[in-house]
């Protein structure tokens, strides 16, 4: 049984609705299905507006899906009543993209990391204090900086605080929504290494949402490519990068700037005629599906 199983997930937003106008329906997530196996890193890639972030938020019900199902350890998350949902969220956490806006500037680092423990009523003061110090070391922060405020940390350190907070409740599943894209290039690798180390030590399962395809290729075992709210191709990362089958995936991969001045450049421009919006995913190689 996969740890997370998403099937036929749909999220529609209504835009421009007025008193007398019905508004226009935007299909942010349009019939998306995938499964994440325990211990793997599953990549969700796409450009802005592809629905990857909304999909991630639907899994935790930070955004309520319009229809579909999300099963976590076999249980339907969308059917959970409030209390049960709160409990389930201990096991499913999210790290946001921007470490500058996702941490409360008025709280000390210690309070930020401790907050999930307080909300879920875990441990006493002393126990929580020890746990926060432990989490701080776990993510490579200096426990002597616990009383500092977010602005006193660098971007990379702030992202470590966000990670410590996400790990406070010992989750098994963590959604990483563009976790390094706001960081300096020289710091990105540190955080990527930390994410890989933590996964190994804590046996974490990641849903890695990103637009940086080079990074996705490096850390994700399997990947789903989203375009306009749909998954157009999914399968083992190596297979998709080596032989992409969908026109959009081909265009996307050919657009990655290669850090090698002698690399051959064959840009594939997306031809709208090649897009078949009605095509459904079919298996083109073992475990490799494309909507062609």
């Amino acid at each position: 049984m996969p740890l997370v199983e998403v099937s036929r997930l749909v999220k529609h937003f209504v835009r421009g609705r007025g008193l007398l106008r019905p508004g226009r329906i935007v299909k942010a997530v349009d019939d998306v299905s995938f499964a994440v196996e325990e211990g793997e890193t599953f990549g969700l890639v796409g450009e802005s507006g592809s629905g990857k972030t909304t999909t991630g938020r639907c899994l935790l019900r930070l955004v309520e899906p319009t229809s579909g199902s999300v099963r976590f350890r076999g249980e339907d998350v969308l059917a959970f009543p409030r209390r049960r949902l709160r409990e389930a969220r201990r096991d499913m956490q999210i790290v946001f993209q921007d470490p500058y806006s996702s941490l409360n500037p008025r709280m000390r680092a210690r309070q930020i990391v401790e907050e999930p423990l307080v909300i879920h009523g875990l441990g006493n003061r002393g126990g929580r204090r020890d746990r926060v110090a432990e989490l701080f070391s776990l993510v490579g922060l200096d426990p002597s900086h616990l009383e500092r405020y977010p602005h006193q940390f660098s971007g990379g350190q702030r992202q470590r605080i966000g990670l410590a907070r996400a790990l406070a409740l010992n989750p098994s599943f963590v959604i990483l929504d563009e976790p390094v894209s706001a960081l300096d290039v020289s710091v990105q690798a540190q955080v990527v290494n930390l994410l890989m180390d933590l996964q190994e030590r804590l046996r974490l399962t990641y849903l890695f949402i990103a637009h940086d395809l080079r990074l996705v290729e490096h850390i994700c075992g399997r990947v789903a490519v989203m375009y306009l709210g749909r998954i157009v191709e999914t399968g083992p990362t190596s297979a998709i990068f080596a032989s992409p089958r969908h026109a959009y995936t081909r265009a996307l991969l050919s657009a990655i700037p290669v850090p090698d001045p002698d690399a051959p450049r064959r840009r594939i421009v997306l031809d709208p005629a090649e897009m078949k919006p009605e095509a459904t995913l079919r298996e083109v190689a073992p475990g490799h599906f494309a909507a062609i």
Partner: protein, 340 residues
């Protein structure tokens, strides 16, 4: 063949006057852009690359100011120009493309008006003629249906289209140099590829020189002829694009290139330790030394001077100071390469 460079920046220093004192954002940098070439200026946020662009255009605003240096453009001293003369250079002889296509355009004027205005302000055309040229420019940057797009407002265009409009504006007066500051950073990767292709094509057909400012080594590899790497307000390495990628000679450049995802999937990346120092609190000596895997005693003494390390290739790193450590210096530099 020796040709005079189009733009020569010499010993440029731009400081910000803060309550704590004058903080140099750009510290004594020198480089050239030759006619028809693309120089990639790479560095992380806060390294001074954007301030360098603003300094060249003399657009640095208080509390920032140019504290020293010379800017020679087509043999003229830009620092000696009056503000009025400088306005004649900006946008006309030196085009500028900013990062944010959303904020760089005025939301209450049509894109046609804004392109035409550039031509009118610089006295290149009357109103009607300027509008006609604006249509041609939109066509040149490959905006479909330029005749009708000309009356669109910025919000009616996608991010990639807005960036094309900015490029059209930068090219309107046929500049010989275009400064593009992170022109594709806000764009999706497929749109980025189109805009980079467009910039390259414009550069070739119009024979202009490009100063491309970016943090992305992939963009540099695709676009630049030469590369200057900045760290903490200084240029630490400069050279032809192949030399920079094949034989980087500064530990920072090497570290950045080695830290990029690649190699066997799932392997740990080679991270650079620590983080970028704050400009007001730079370490003594070489600003990179606390993060440098190859540091030695000399690195903490004074900022390293420029050493020639190859044909048209320089690095500010004591590893290349043969007088200082004849054996170790060369050995370390070579060893660093071999390790990768």
């Amino acid at each position: 063949m020796v040709t005079d460079p189009l733009l020569r920046v010499e010993d440029l220093t731009t400081v910000f006057d803060l309550p704590s004192g004058a903080v140099p954002a750009v510290d004594d940098i020198s480089f050239e852009v030759r006619a028809g070439e693309t120089l990639g200026l790479v560095g992380e946020s806060g390294c001074g690359k954007s301030v360098t662009a603003l300094s060249i255009m003399r657009l640095v605003q208080a509390p920032g100011r140019i504290a020293g240096g010379r800017l020679r453009f087509k043999g003229r001293d830009l620092m000696a120009l009056s503000e009025r003369e400088m306005q004649g250079v900006r946008g006309a002889e030196i085009g500028l493309v900013f990062q944010e296509p959303m904020t760089a355009l005025n939301p209450v004027f049509t894109v046609g008006d804004q392109i035409a205005e550039t031509l009118v302000v610089h006295g290149r055309a009357g109103r009607r003629e300027a509008m006609r040229q604006a249509v041609d420019l939109l066509a040149a940057v490959k905006i479909p249906n330029p005749d009708s797009r000309i009356t669109d407002y910025p919000h009616q265009l996608s991010g990639g289209m807005r960036q094309r409009v900015l490029i059209a504006m930068a090219l309107a007066c046929r500049p010989s140099l275009v400064i593009a500051d992170e022109p594709t950073t806000a764009l999706d990767v497929t749109i980025q590829a189109q805009v980079l292709d467009l910039l390259r094509e414009m550069k070739d057909t119009l024979g202009l020189a490009l100063l491309l400012i970016t943090h992305d080594f992939g963009v540099v590899a695709e676009t630049a002829d030469r590369v200057a790497v900045m760290y903490a307000g200084r240029i630490v390495e400069e050279g032809p694009v192949r030399a920079i990628f094949r034989e980087p000679q500064h530990p920072y450049t090497r570290g950045l290139l080695a830290s990029m995802p690649g190699g066997a999937p799932g392997r740990r990346l080679r991270a650079i330790e620590g983080s970028v120092p704050a400009l007001g609190a730079l370490p003594r000596g070489c600003a990179f030394h606390p993060r440098c895997p190859d540091r030695f005693d000399e690195c903490t003494t004074a900022p390293p001077p420029e050493f020639a390390v190859g044909d048209g290739h320089t690095a500010r790193c004591y590893l290349h100071d043969v007088r200082l450590k004849p054996d170790t210096a060369k050995g370390r530099a070579a060893g660093g390469d071999a390790a990768r």
